[in-house]
């Protein structure tokens, strides 16, 4: 998107993988940091009881979210993705604003759903993101229909949809993926093997070792990548997205990662084997690994990253300040918009007596 003009590397450095430019490396870093910082802010707000409803963290999964979304063409009326609760990073990449996320989690009147649907369930189809509904799997048929439309109209656009290891057990995942495969829709699937579905380990969710094996039943290619390696996820996604754009149909990418927080903030994770969380945090944090790669290869300088950290911190502070004390929606604003016509539901009689 940006910085194509800046030469990707200095002659003495190793080449940046996947045709990424230095500017893009920093932009990716910015999204990673923004995701984590924003979620940390949300956690603080949650503890202050300012978040309405559950809070779902993507700690440890920021890498795959950001890197996969980053492979799309972004801008108005370009590619479209459908994120899950743990794909805050993908949303940010597509252009969702921190203040929107904050408003949404705090049910503010000016939030994207004006207090109607929870957490990251919101969308901007022009910018290219379609919020999920809670019912897992349901976005597969819907994204099949969106990408079918791209194909019908001959538009060179691609869709991308996420599914958790647990979510692959749903009937709608199966029906939607099969439909898209048969229709050769330009759709990329990111299967997130993060070891848990709430408290249920993957072994109790399905009988295969890799999610990628599930692709075989649909006649679509699949690849398994290290989900905490930003470059690997980006490269695989880029490949799949381009393939889809060339009319080659659905592509499945499994990202192996780990959900380091509970299902939601209230979950104490007592079911997790001891040491496992610590090990992933210590050895396999996607941002740490990314930073190490950037610095080791001298693609960027520590100062560049520190600058981004500071600017992200400021951005999140500013966004919080803007909306923390905003009002909740007016009660009667609950009624309009169920239908295009009639424009609003009736106020029931007992509210008028």
């Amino acid at each position: 998107m940006t910085s194509r003009a800046i030469p990707a590397t200095e002659p003495s450095q190793p080449a940046i993988p996947a045709d990424l430019s230095r500017g893009q490396l920093l932009e990716i870093y910015r999204y990673l940091r923004l995701t984590r910082t924003l979620e940390e802010r949300l956690t603080a707000l949650y503890r202050q009881s300012k978040v309405i409803g559950g809070l779902f963290r993507s700690l440890g999964q920021e890498g795959e979210s950001v890197a996969s979304a980053y492979a799309l063409e972004r801008g108005r009326h370009r590619d479209i993705l459908s994120p899950l609760i743990r794909n805050l990073g993908s949303l940010l990449v597509m252009g969702a604003k921190p203040v929107e996320i904050l408003r949404q989690y705090m049910a503010k009147a000016d939030g994207p759903t004006r207090g109607r649907d929870t957490n990251v369930h919101f969308n901007d189809l022009e910018l290219g993101y379609l919020g999920q509904i809670s019912h897992l799997g349901d976005m597969f048929p819907v994204m099949a229909g969106i990408t079918l439309t791209f194909k019908m109209r001959g538009e060179p656009r691609v869709g991308l949809v996420y599914i958790g290891d647990g979510g692959t057990s749903t009937g709608t995942f199966h029906e939607g993926l099969n439909f898209a495969a048969v229709q050769r829709c330009p759709l990329v699937v990111i299967g997130e093997y993060n070891h848990w579905a709430y408290s249920t380990p993957a072994e109790k969710q399905f009988g295969v070792k890799d999610l990628a094996e599930k692709a075989k039943g649909y006649g679509i290619p699949a690849v398994t990548v290290d989900g905490n390696d930003v470059f690997a996820v980006y490269a695989a996604s880029k490949h799949a997205v381009e393939r889809a754009r060339r009319g080659k149909g659905v592509h499945f990418i499994e990202v192996k990662t780990y959900r380091r927080k509970g299902h939601a903030e209230h979950d104490d994770q007592h079911y997790v084997p001891p040491g496992e969380l610590e090990r992933w945090a210590r050895e396999n944090d996607p941002i740490d690994r990314y930073v190490k790669q950037l610095l080791r290869s001298e693609w960027v300088k520590e100062g560049d990253l520190a600058e981004i950290d500071a600017s992200v911190g400021e951005e999140v502070d500013r966004a919080t300040d803007v909306c923390a004390d905003e009002r909740l929606p007016e009660p009667a604003s609950a009624l309009p918009g169920v239908y295009a016509d009639p424009p609003a539901a009736d106020t029931l009689w007992f509210r008028r007596v």
């Binding site: 819907v142 229909g145 791209f150 239908y339 295009a340 539901a345």
Partner: protein, 326 residues
Amino acid sequence: MAEITFLEALRQGLWEEMERDERVFILGEDVGIYGGAFKVTEGFVKRFGEARVIDTPISEAAIVGAAAGAAHMGMRPVAEMQFIDFISCAYDMLTNYVATARYRAGLSTPIVVRGPCGGYVRGGPFHSQNPEAAFFHTPGLKIVYPATARDAKGLIKSAIRDDDPVLYLEHKWLYRRIKEQLPEGEEVLTPIGEARLAREGKDLSIVTYGATVWKALEAAEALQQQDGVSVEILDLRTLLPLDDAAIMRTVKQTNKVLIVHEDTRTGGVAGEIAARINEQAFEWLDGPIMRVTAHDVPLPYAPTLEDYVLPQTDDIVKAARWLAAY
């Protein structure tokens, strides 16, 4: 001016909309070369091509969900359920995803889901259902249920043009049994949300829809001749949103009302209508609002049993006679 069947009228409506608006397309099981289990889309694939008449896998949730996705992108999909009984497999998709899309997320989802419903054809428990009650409870959906050939055409065309998701229920007992002269070249559009006065009368009102409109008409004729009772019949045509004004008008006209539907009794649409009449026209009632419906059992297919379980013309006659004498 040719006489055409209910099915042909529906077919014409679909065809005309496909001709008029290239955003309209059809998806469903066997809708292409086979033309659908009841041949509603016969000839469509030849005229409009495989890209606009899509044979799908046996995946009702995917059919409805894909229609929704396409509708978000500005298309006007018409999804066929091979039998409407199979819409139960898309219940989640339709009630949770589709119906709430505009409200929760500002998404426009102008889809039509249509399919053959209803009994009196020995179809048994899984090929005779009337699914309206399951969806009637869902804010965000519209439900239409034509009884005449004209409305079969007029409502499919209005449904396709409507900006909200519409469930279009077509009674298979009417498909080839009902015939009507429809002027060629006339644009037939039945407004969604408006009931139709199917017969004027003054002693008693029957509020009904679908196949039982015809049974009610037969009953009214019998009552007129045998008892001199004058029955007014309101064909609802749209179930969601209900045309309260038309319902209250007829109640205030006759002061007695019989609600008739083919669907089972408990939790059927008649309950809601009874409640609304009670709330909005209680003082006009000269007798209890009574219901003639199917018995509360899954629909058996043996003719003797099906005839017993479903409401028949004779049942309407007896019920109306009882109410008229109240």
